[in-house]
């Protein structure tokens, strides 16, 4: 990851696709590969910022979600659905966040099956501090032009809707 490459490897892959008779899907292949690589770059930046807080991206997302929930609490299955992750991943994340004293489990008042995840004061403080750094170090310096941000939100929003993420 040190030195920049002399050429764009994704543009090269696209040329290879076209040369091998797959010109009809070369462009979407390049777009999808670019999304994969961009995600990798962004994730590295985000995790670099979160590391000093002892958080990973998955755990930060859960913390941030709770900080916006009324009462700072949410059922596990709600969190799983909203974050679009497997229930066992939520269990794993809550285990670690609870170990760090950032959240706690409490029984649901009416439904004995579900458990609530609740933000502790420490969790709320840490979420706020981590968000502040994330805002200034990552989101505030995304490297995307303003118009391109709008384009991305529109294009990826359509994609996610078609993929069945939401029916909005």
């Amino acid at each position: 990851m040190g030195t920049p490459l002399p050429r764009d490897p994704i543009a090269d892959a696209r040329l290879n696709w076209e040369r091998h008779g797959w010109a009809d899907v070369a462009a979407p292949m390049a777009a999808i590969t670019a999304i994969m690589r961009t995600q990798q770059i962004l994730l590295a930046r985000i995790e670099g910022v979160l590391k000093p807080f002892g958080l990973t991206f998955a755990r930060y997302e859960l913390l941030a979600l709770l900080s916006f929930a009324r009462g700072g609490a949410l059922p596990m299955n709600k969190a799983s659905a909203l974050l679009q992750v497997h229930p066992t991943s939520v269990t794993n994340a809550v285990d670690r966040l609870q170990g760090a004293g950032l959240v706690l489990r409490s029984p649901h008042p009416t439904d004995g099956r579900t458990t609530l995840i609740e933000l502790t004061p420490e969790g709320r403080t840490l979420a706020k501090r981590a968000t502040a750094v994330l805002n200034s170090e990552v989101f505030g310096q995304s490297g995307f032009a303003g118009q391109d941000v709008d384009q991305l939100i529109r294009i990826l929003g359509t994609f996610r809707r078609n993929a069945g993420d939401f029916s909005d």
Copy 2:
């Protein structure tokens, strides 16, 4: 991941950002979060297609890269640089591909330090078959409009260049 949500969770997060006084970075936050989620969806599709072939995305990428290299061989460090992954990840991928008989290691003719990864005939065949299915099942049905594909390639290409991926 079953039922679509009634509302777009990323749009909701953007509203929450704006309500908490972070309106200036709410849009890039939404764009970046959308990239993360889109990558997740695409990766699931890709790995679903590759699973019957006994391949993961990382291993397929290496196989595809080799299939385009002259002689079907490439030094480990070249592959690491072109795929933008950690050298130990390449070692890991090669171990498994070699175990499956898809690639083999051979000494570099002039530089005794470097080892070449070489595609076997089986590896070349499998790469071709996997690519065919990937083209028809994923890239050919990406769900992106033609113009949006061009936008993505442009926007993400600029981003990757600025991030230091290449100096093209």
